[in-house]
Structure formats: C-alpha cells, structure tokens
C-alpha cells in the first residue's frame, strides 16, 4: 500500500486487486442503473432486503461508531490523552457514513428521491424515517468535524477552521445523541416484523442491543483500524498520536470488555424475559450460541485478559474478532434469522453482483482513507496549529 514513496510501483498486488474490484464495480453499476435491481441482485418479493442493507448499511453504520465513541471519550469524558485518535476515528466514521449513503443509492429503487422523506413528505410513524433523518444530520455533523483537517491542508481558511474548532463540543454532543438514536433504531427496524424474525433474535430489546453493540463495535474498529494504519502510515504519525495510541488501545479494550459483559447480560435477560430457552436446543439455537458465546462472551473475556496483562497483541486480535462478531450479528438479524420460516427454496443468498458492489464500496472507502491520510493532518498535528486545542 505504500506506493506513495516508491516511484513506478503502481502495479502492487493491492493496487491490482483494487483495480479489478473497481472495474467490476463499474460494470455492475451500469447494469444496476440501466436494467434494474432484478438484473444484478437475488432480491425477491419475499426477500426485499439483501446484503446491501445487511452489510453496507447495518454493518457500515455499526462499524463507523468509532467516531462518536472516541470523540465522546476525549471531549466529553475528558480523556485528553486520546486526542490523537480523534481525527482518524472521525475520518473513518465520516467515510463510513458517506459510503452507507452512497451504497443506499444502489439499493433503493429511485435513489433521486432519497431526500423525499426529509424534505417532501414525512412518514413520521416510520422507524426508517428516524434512521434517515438521523443519518442525514449525523453525516453533516461528521463532515463538519472532519472539515478542519481539510482546511488545514489547503491553507488560507483559518477563520472557518477556527469557527469549526469552537463548535467541537456542541458537535460532539449532537453526534452522541444522533448516534444513540439511529444506532438503536436500526435494531428497531425489525420490531415491526415479529412473525418474520426468529424468536431468539426478536426481542423488544433489539434497539438497546443495537446501541450497546455499536459502542464496542466502534471501539474495536478504532483498535483494528489503528493497528492497520500503524502498519501502513507509520511515517505520517507524530509523537502525540504514537504516545496516546497504545494507551487508547488498552483503555478501549477495558471499556469494550465491560460493555460486552453488559450486552451479554442483556442478551440473556431477553431470553429469560421472553422465555425463549426452549429454542436453544434447535439448530437456530446452536447458531445463536455460536454468535453469543463465540463472538461476544469469549472476546469479552479476551479483552479483559488483554487489559489485565497489558497484552497489546491480544487486544488487537480481539478487536478483529469482535468486528467479525458484529458483522455476524447484523447478518443474523437481517438475513439468517429473518424469514426463517420460509421454505429453503425461497431463502436469500447474495448474487455475485451484490457482493461485487459491497466490495466496491469498501474499496472506495480504503482508497479515500488512504488519499486523505497521506495528504491531510490526520495522524499528526499540523505544525501551524501546534498550540490549537482541536
């Protein structure tokens, strides 16, 4: 990935793979917008939502939660030593949300009408309306939070940059509120379909669970993304970032362990309150246990051990493990446990076209991230703003 410094090595393995994905993505894009959804997806009347919702939207939003968790820890809870991690987390979140909205353009039938629910006719009884409104406002908030970095890169906008920096506190609180609302309402989307979602996953606590899991998802993403960045952009990082970085990984390991323990309790509470124990003996029960024990309880324990032993390697490994667990959970709710009573011939499995577009979106994200961090002050403080508080 470090092609910036080496001349004439544009054809690195990563670049070639990225190029192939981009080319395939363009082809599928053209097909999608000339022939319709049916030509490139396996969606059907029984399965209106596939991986473009299950992965691009649900996972995308959950994994972009590092933005609000990190900025809240730094600015609201006063962990000033995490300051260096705020900009990378905000950038990741901003790109994440921007790509969620970008990917939505593929999924909805008439994307040019996406502003309708906000500006034309509001369906206020819909949970999806809440999701749309919050994501729209939060994307704006994240853009404003990211903007100072861009304004420091292209000099000469100090006046605007300073105004934005002054707004940091307000934007951070607004970000936490909006994240609470839409992270939880993504879970609440499924409350309307109790007959379609398997009883082990359907619970009135779905919104709370989506919110809680977004917190440790975001923290794990910050650890995971930080580890990757360290490998590839180390030369861009200054002492402030590097000093706070390991400390932050440890602190987030501890926080994630606690929140995951609470989430686990919530899962069991839901099971007990709705008296769903009998389902544990079924095939779906086994799968539920894989998710809850294998991808919540065990990584929760691993995080705690990593913190106790100051084991950075374990913390980083657990971060990836937890991220996979979140993806598994969102897939389970939206695809695996959804429509569980349908005969298997009517069940959904993503088409090649859908997978290509999802890869395409992730690839665009990585390229945009790389473009920005190699040019703008993300991992370091711009020399001209050394004394600034942002």
């Amino acid at each position: 990935m470090s092609t910036e410094t080496q001349k004439g090595t544009l054809f690195t393995p990563w670049n070639i793979v990225a190029g192939i994905i981009l080319a395939a993505g363009v082809v599928v894009t053209i097909m999608r917008f000339t022939m319709g959804l049916g030509a490139v997806t396996n969606l059907s009347d029984n399965n209106p939502w596939g991986i473009w919702i299950g992965f691009d939207l649900l996972c995308g939003v959950a994994l972009a939660a590092g933005g609000y968790t990190t900025s809240a820890a730094c600015y609201i809870f006063g962990f000033k030593r995490f300051h260096g991690a705020v900009r990378p987390a905000i950038l990741t979140a901003f790109l994440g949300y921007a790509l969620v909205v970008f990917a939505l353009n593929y999924d909805v039938g008439r994307p040019w009408r996406l502003p309708y629910p906000i500006f034309y006719q509001q369906g206020t009884t819909s949970i999806l309306f809440e999701v749309g409104l919050c994501v729209f406002i939060y994307l704006t908030v994240l853009f404003l939070e990211y903007l100072p970095a861009a304004l420091e890169w292209k000099r000469g906008f100090d006046k605007y940059r300073d105004i934005l920096v002054k707004l940091t506190m307000g934007l951070t609180i607004l970000g936490v509120i909006l994240s609470t609302l839409h992270q939880s309402s993504l879970g609440a989307l499924y409350l309307i379909a109790p007959s379609k979602l398997h009883p082990l996953w359907y619970t009135p606590y779905l919104p709370v669970m989506f919110f809680m899991s977004s917190m440790f998802a975001g923290m794990s993403m910050v650890i995971f993304e930080g580890t990757l960045s360290h490998k590839h952009f180390h030369h861009k990082m200054d002492d402030e970032y590097n000093l706070g970085y390991e400390d932050l990984q440890m602190a987030f390991s501890k926080a994630a362990a606690w929140i995951m323990a609470g989430y686990l309790a919530m899962k069991l509470l839901g099971l007990a309150m709705d008296n769903r124990w009998q389902f544990l003996g079924t095939g779906y029960g086994a799968w539920w246990l894989v998710e809850v024990v294998g991808f919540v309880a065990l990584p929760c324990y691993a995080y705690a051990v990593a913190y106790r032993d100051r084991n950075l390697k374990l913390a980083r490994f657990t971060a990836l493990w937890t991220v996979l667990g979140i993806v598994l959970n969102r897939f389970n709710v939206s695809l695996v446990a959804f429509n569980w009573q349908l005969p298997s011939v009517d069940r959904y499995f993503p088409s090649a076209g859908e997978i290509i577009i999802s890869l395409f979106v992730v690839t665009i994200g990585v390229i945009a991230f790389r473009f920005i961090v190699t040019r703008m002050p993300i991992f370091y403080v711009h020399p001209a703003y050394k004394d600034s508080s942002h």
Partner: protein
C-alpha cells in the same frame, strides 16, 4: 452559541417526532372510528379454485397477461404468492390426505392499522375511508421496508424496472369502490365465496356461518384481531388456518404499537442526553480544574518549601561563612599582630 444552537436543533427534532406520535394516535382513533370501512369476507369452504377472481383482477387492473391462461387449473399444483403482475392468486391445499382439497385466495388483507403504512418513511401508504390501503407511486422511494414489515408477505416489487419501479399490491379496487362498484374479484366469484360489505356486518355474517354450521368451520375469523385487525376476513373449514398456509401466531398487536415504544424513546433520548452529557462534561472539566489547581497549589507549596529551605540554608551558610570569615579575619589580625610584634622585636634587636 454552540450549546444553544444544538439544543434548538434537537428541540426542533423532538417537536417533529413528537407531533408525529400525536398524529399517529389521532389516526388510530380515526381507523377505529371508520364506521363505513368496507371489507371482504372470504369463505374458504365455498371456494372451488376456478381462478375467475384472478382473471377478473387481471382485467380490471389492466395487468399483463400471464404465461398460462386463467382457465388452466394445473397452475394450482404449485404454491404461489402475489407478485408485481398479479394482485391475487388462489392456492390449493390438502389438509387431510384423501379428502377433497381446500382453496385459499391470497391478496392484500387491507389491515386496519397497516404495517406498510406504519413502516413507510414517505407516507406512500394510507388507510382510506373505504377500507382500502392505497399506495402512491409518485412519492415512493423504493426502499421496500413495507415489504419487510408486512406480516402477510403481500407487497411485491417491480425489480425489472430501472427507472420507475413500483410496489404492487391489491388495491381492493379502490377506483371501482369510489364509483360504487364491487371489487373485480368479488363480482366475478361464481360461488359467493367472496362477500363485500361493511366490516362490522361481515363479522356478524362470518360468525353466523360458523355458528350455523356446527363442526364445519374453525371457530375463528381470521383478520378479526390479527395484527390489530384486517378489512379482509377469512373463515375456513376445519382443521386449521395453518393447514391453508396461514400464520396463526401473528398476535393481536398492531404494527404501529410494535414500534411506538421505540419512537417514544426519541424525545426522551434527545432530551436526556444533552443534559447528561453536558453534566458529564462539566464534571470532567471540574475534575480537571481541581486537579490543575491542586497541582498548582502543590507546585507553589513545593516552590515555597524549596525556597524557604534554600533561604534557611543560605542564611545558615551565610552565618557559617560569617563565622568562618570572622575567624579568618581574627586569624589574619592575629597573624598580622604577631608579625608586627615580631617585626618590633627584631627592630629593637637591630
């Protein structure tokens, strides 16, 4: 500016969503009070699977011709569902092997409090006065959340259209109802398996049939209470509705009720979070301040102590130095005196 600014924004959001909740409550009242809401009673024990209703539906709604003609009854051998080109279908079921089959007509049930309307974020679905749940393709974004939400798996989508895909479902022949005509399927049914009327009267009719034919029907009117009730009601011969592929575990909670709790949490979150977070911020800031002032106090105390120590040491040293100096001077004076005395003695000698 910043705090007031975002509080104002949130207030606005809270009001919007709050007014949404009241609007919903009002509309619930309206639905319960829809005295003239029409509906259709389907009696599965009368249906002979002739597909005349399918043909009529296709004709009155100008739907595309199907691959197999409507009088081809082999179609019934496969289980089907409604799709974008078919608003209604009839399926064949054999609840008891060896006994004659039972047929069920499937179409939109026109819920009293429709899940699709509750789920739609542009309010493209509305429960109309006639009882029909109607759809407005001119605002539809094509998100298909209505399809996710519908407990009866009814709305279908035009997946093959690139620019103008619509959600398609039975309209209860709303345009015909407004003209005073019957829905196409009801008019076409040769066995009076379908009856159109006011929902309340249809419920009476349904229970009269169940009560008047002991042992024949399942003692339940499907749609009387399912998901808060539907305009389309079904009665069926024994043994069960499940034998006709109908979900008997839908419950009586309406779709809006399922999500109202989550929606009600919005103003609470928008109200409590800013207070709580600003409080936390204030606490952490105050902690910082206290820590800072404690640090400063400690530093100045240390400095004071250090300077006092240094001063004491200095004066001690000075005193010592003074003593030493005195002594040195004394010694020097003594030496000088002795030298002088010695010199005097030597002078005398000389």
């Amino acid at each position: 500016m910043k705090r007031r600014h975002f509080l104002g924004l949130l207030g606005a959001a809270g009001v919007t969503l709050g007014s949404g909740a009241t609007a919903k409550a009002a509309s619930l009242g309206d639905v319960k009070g829809l005295p003239n809401a029409g509906g259709v009673l389907f009696d599965a024990s009368r249906c002979i699977g002739c597909r005349k209703c399918e043909a009529a539906c296709n004709q009155v709604n100008d739907l595309p011709k199907p691959a197999k003609a409507f009088d081809d009854l082999t179609v019934l051998d496969a289980t089907r569902r409604t799709d974008a080109k078919t608003y209604t279908i009839v399926n064949k079921y054999v609840p008891d092997a060896g006994k004659p089959p039972v047929f069920r007509k499937i179409q939109c049930n026109h819920c009293m409090e429709p899940a699709c309307a509750s789920a739609c974020f542009v309010a493209a679905f509305k429960k109309s006065e006639t009882g029909a749940v109607v759809y407005d393709p001119d605002v539809c974004v094509g998100c298909r959340y209505c399809m996710v939400a519908c407990p009866f798996n009814i709305p279908a989508y035009e997946y093959d259209k690139a620019f103008t895909p619509r959600v398609m479902k039975c309209t209860m022949c709303q345009p015909r109802l407004l003209e005073g005509k019957l829905p196409g399927c009801v008019e076409a049914c040769p066995k009076e398996a379908l009856v159109f009327g006011k929902r309340r009267e249809l419920l009476n009719l349904a229970w009269d049939r169940i009560g008047g034919n002991p042992g024949r029907y399942v003692e339940h009117v499907y749609g009387e209470r399912e998901m808060g009730g539907t305009s389309w009601l079904t009665i069926a011969p024994k043994p069960s509705f499940a034998a006709l592929g109908m979900d008997e575990n839908l419950g009586t909670t309406s779709a809006p009720e399922l999500t109202s709790g989550a929606l009600a949490a919005v103003p609470a979150v928008a109200g409590i979070w800013p207070v709580l977070l600003t409080g936390l911020y204030a606490i952490s800031k105050r902690k910082e301040k206290i820590a800072e002032s404690e640090k400063q106090a400690a530093v100045s105390a240390a400095i004071a102590k250090a300077s006092a120590d240094a001063e004491a040491k200095l004066s001690e040293e000075l005193a010592k130095a003074e003593v030493a100096n005195k002594r040195r001077i004394e010694v020097e004076v003594k030496k000088a005196l002795e030298a002088a005395a010695k010199a005097g003695e030597e002078g005398e000698d000389a």
